[in-house]
Amino acid sequence: MPQPPIQPKTTSLQQAPKLLPSALLAELLERIDTDKRLVVLDMGHAMASTVRFFGEYRCQLNFIDLYAEQFILTPDPELTHSQRVAAMREALNLAPSAKIDICLFWDIFNYLDDAHTKALIEVLEPHISTATGALVINPRDSRHYLPFYRYGIADQDNFMQVESTGTQPTIFARSQRDLNNLVDYFAIDRGRLISEGRAEYLLFENRNIDKTDRSMI
């Protein structure tokens, strides 16, 4: 049963960036070949620390800033699936041949309804390989409040988080199991609890996994 959207909150004062310890970023970096040129997709806002971090690698770092797109700020429920896919494709603006090594979803799925989440996953599919790893931040369960942050990478053991300004878009909270089902060819490989009622998930492409695991919350 889908959860009703959670009422957004508004903040006006931007705080200084803070470190958010991560146990899974280092694991992601261990499991991909960082000696070759990396292609990184960051769904969020460009942050200085993320650019600094990947400046040590030979890489292409793509900042999508999906959070600023109209389909998040003022979603149109009348759109057809093909229109949603077209809007998502335009927002991602990926070259047809691009293959992504690291996908930093952050908490974007919480701001996309199921239809838009499916559109995002569909548009990404040609750019995903078995080597693609992804990170997601989510409330521990659908009852937890989602803080309104922007995220980046500080170092391999820490994310960077900074409080967002403005009005938090509508939140579509999901359980880990519901999210795992929605991300289709991705599968949650492991998760860790982090502060403020959140969890970080490490995802890999895995089309063969049994997603009927009832142990997920």
Binding site: V51, G55, N62, S97, T130, D189
Partner: protein, 167 residues
Amino acid sequence: MFSKYKKFISGSDDSSLKSDNKAGIFEPSLQSAVIGAGVTIEGQVISHEDMVIAGEVRGAVIAKNHHIHIATSGIVKADITAKIISVEGTVTGNVTGLERVIITATSNVQGNIECPRVTLEDGAKFKGSIEMNPGEPTQSILPIFPVTSVKKRSSSARSDQIGAKAS
């Protein structure tokens, strides 16, 4: 000599034009050219000296051996190729830095950046890709032609297949 041009660079406070030493922000010299805030240029700008763009340029900007600084009032709808590029204003187009690119907190950049070393300050509005290779200077120079729209992001990346240990 440069001081007489400063009044035309609206929106560029003096502090932002002082240090090329620390953050890499432009320090105008006597050899600096200035495209003032009230000037619009359409076409190809080739500079053999450091240059401040406080006005508007549409087309292409090239200064292979020099520093191009886009001041806060500057609007560039063009591909930029230069040794060092620092942006405080608005850029729509591809940015190729042969040595260094600095995107400051006040800037709004939409396009693809290619440079061995890229610095982006928190607060900057940036959408696009950043191609970084800390081991090598940038070799490729973007083609020169008038810009009508931002190019689609391109990626020649190949992804070597490795086995994910997903359970």
